[in-house]
């Protein structure tokens, strides 16, 4: 039996979320690198090859300017608790990100977007100052049913 072709669902999901919830945004960057440039990291850690930092750079699903804030968005369709970890990892690195240099004076807001309500995740994220947005689309529901998560 052949495998179904891989689909970029989370990228579609995050774009649909941003378009619906932040139509009044100032700007949006999708799939943007987070943290210092690889060359900078390699200088600080000469024992680790530059290629490591290039290959393993961190990527946020979306970064947007909205109501004077810099909003960092991580979308998780299947496993939202992982998104909490990513946001906590990315937040302190925003100020060191060359691609975001123009926006670092804005207060940072962290948002996890996921289609299923789970009070455990919402409570845990809340203790870290992360807003959880429940964003459901019919195609997401179909996908989650297909993989047995709904």
């Amino acid at each position: 039996m052949s495998r179904k072709p891989y689909e970029q669902r989370e990228r579609r999901y995050v774009q649909e979320y941003v378009n619906e919830k932040f139509s009044d945004r100032d700007f949006v960057l999708y799939n943007t690198p987070i943290g210092p440039a690889p060359e900078e990291l390699s200088k600080a850690h000469p024992e680790i090859p530059l290629e490591h930092f290039r290959r393993w750079r961190l990527w946020a699903d979306a970064v947007l300017g909205w109501k004077g804030l810099l909003v960092l968005v991580e979308a998780k369709l299947r496993n939202p608790k992982v998104g909490v970890g990513y946001l906590l990892e990315y937040a302190p690195l925003v100020k060191q990100t060359p691609e975001l240099r123009a926006y670092v004076n804005r207060p940072l807001q962290l948002r996890l977007v996921t289609p299923r309500q789970d009070p455990r995740i919402i409570d845990m994220a809340g203790t870290h100052g992360i807003i959880v947005d429940i964003f459901y689309k019919d195609w997401v529901g179909e996908y989650l049913r297909e993989v047995g998560l709904m």
Partner: protein, 102 residues
């Protein structure tokens, strides 16, 4: 003489494009790894503006990741309304693209 009919991305330099008429096209390419010909589907659009200068070129990508982002922008109407800034971060199998809606 090289005819510049297609927009080329340079590593880690944002290219700002106004894209119209997005579509999927099939073409035969030589696989860079195996060197054998293969038919692939690429996401293609006409470029009417490149870095704010009017032009008449095409933009095409085989990247599932980039095509997914651009196709979502096309379906949402973003592509028709806005310019897009595309930055290519070449990393072999870990290649990434940042898309900025401008």
């Amino acid at each position: 003489m090289v005819l510049e009919n297609f927009v080329r991305l340079a590593p880690e330099r944002e290219k700002i494009l106004k894209l119209v008429n997005p579509r999927i096209e099939e073409k035969t390419i030589t696989d860079p790894k195996t060197k054998s010909p293969k038919v692939v589907r690429s996401w293609v659009a006409d470029v009417v503006e490149e870095d704010y200068i009017p032009t008449s070129k095409k933009f095409s990508t085989l990247s599932e990741k980039l095509a997914g982002m651009l196709q979502t922008s096309a379906l949402s109407g973003d592509l028709a309304r806005y310019r897009v800034g595309i930055t290519w971060y070449p990393r072999d199998y870990a290649t990434e693209y940042r898309v900025r809606i401008i």
